[in-house]
């Protein structure tokens, strides 16, 4: 299938990656090559084949609903670029 620059901008937006005029042509070419390659899958008729998401999927792995220790707050914040009052400090999202 044809990969347009418009599609590349759209996918980059979904992935929160910056895309600009200087890079979009190359990205379209890269993506086009990779999709051209994986299009080989379309040769197979899989209508009656169920999908596999995990090789040995275990369903409903539960534990007892009991209190237990969690990561201390200072550990959780230890790698944060900015924290304030025991919370992550982030750019303003609401005016």
């Amino acid at each position: 299938m044809e990969i347009t620059e418009k599609l590349v901008y759209y996918v980059a937006e979904l992935a929160h990656l910056r895309m600009d005029e200087a890079h979009v042509a190359q990205a379209a070419e890269d993506l086009s090559k990779m999709i051209g390659y994986v299009d080989k899958l379309q040769e197979l008729d899989t209508d009656s084949v169920p999908p596999t998401s995990h090789a040995n999927a275990r369903a409903n792995v539960f534990r007892e609903d009991e209190e237990r220790e969690s990561m201390p707050r200072e550990d959780a914040l230890a790698n944060a670029p900015q924290s304030k009052d025991g919370c992550y400090a982030v750019p303003r999202t609401v005016e």
């Binding site: 992935a15 929160h16 990656l17 090559k33 990779m34 990561m71 944060a80």
Partner: protein
Amino acid sequence: MELFDLTALELGERIRAREIGVEEATRACLSRIEAQEGTLHAFITVTAEAALRRAREVQRGIDDGTYTHPLAGVPMAIKDLISTRGVETTCASRMLKGYVPTYDATVVRKLDAIGAVCLGKTNMDEFAMGSSTESSAFGVTRNPWDASRVPGGSSGGSAAAVAAREVFYALGSDTGGSIRQPASFCGVTGVKPTYGAVSRYGLIAYASSLDQIGPIAIDARDAAAVTRLLAGIDPLDATSVDAPPPAMPEGDDLSGLRVGVPRECFADGLNGEVRARVLAVGDALQALGATLVPVELPMLPYAIPAYYVLACAEASSNLSRYDGLRYGFHPEGIEDLHEYYLTARSEGFGAEVKRRILLGAFALSSGYYDAYYDKAQRVRTLIARDFARCFEQADVLLTPAAPTTAYPLGAHADDPISMYLGDIYTVSINLAGLPGMSLPCGFDGDGLPVGAQLIGPAFGESRLFAAAHAYQTHTDFHRRRPPEAGAAKGAKANGEL
């Protein structure tokens, strides 16, 4: 026998017999690291001081009977995507430079509990996305057998460190071949355990339905000992499975073992010298009592396309957590949240990682999901069925680990897909969730190691170890090691004892 001619278990035995001190072994490894790292760059972080402190602590524990495990006191290394409390864990990415985990991966806790001595964190392809360790943000690792060549990847640092005997074993991770292919390129023994055999808790995720942690070791017995240590169900990983640990291999009698040889794995695209060496493994196994059985894997040509769709889709989802706000790379002085995300992710990730995130986001996007992601999941089912049929006729399968030996640095720089094709024999094992193992089986005309792959049914690791150990009892390829790096190329072919 010189210290560095020992395997990890042999060293462990001498340590427990008080013939070699833990600190002595640790210092010897640190000296080799110091001497070779200028050329090899197998490590991102060497924790020399902590390792020496740990060595003294473990020696006391051995002396007072706290540590009795066969690998107690043996120096080892950990791939830099496995979380180590208090030790920087980068994933070879600018995105995680400076990130210091506040908890240990389950496998690290297990290593600590038996008195392992970790010397540092090994280099890799960024976020484990690559087959050559060239996409590391911190520089390439070189192959100890020929410094102009790649060590393979993504666990290239772990494989190079073991091949160069900077450590006696190392942990790697394998999503599509990232333990087995570098083990093959570096002439060491690597194991990708069955999906669910080893806890992934604390393993920084690439593609969660495919990732497994496993050992890179000197021989099959070392690999078995490490796998036994790592394996087991973990309440912190809901995909881990309660299965008995694999057995330590003993003896060389392979009577009754049916070795399947998939026709498709010896067809076009396979280097002739690799083909000859791997087929010779089949002959050697037969001489030990095994029977060779022709089998078929007709879905093989679809494995790499299915893998890249699924692995990239999972990666695009897993790597969405890197927002620059809680840990890792963060831009300065940006007030707008969206702009902050874009800058953190665009400057933090390298080119190959972004390429795969874009493909994955595409495959999962509305309008393309059915044609790509869902389609690849259905093909995954067909690939698993191929293996199920093979294991009706055979107990293990024999294939090459990779179609070539180690290639020169930069060989695939302009064409990522040509590098992906090198994963042809390994990716389908991850898709089917099976155990796979790469073992050294000779050298090509340039003195570069060749690796054979053994594949087992789910939780059939014991069979792989038994076959590999029997083979290694009668060959010495796994005992060969390259001259100390900087120096010249390695041994020539003809390694049977």
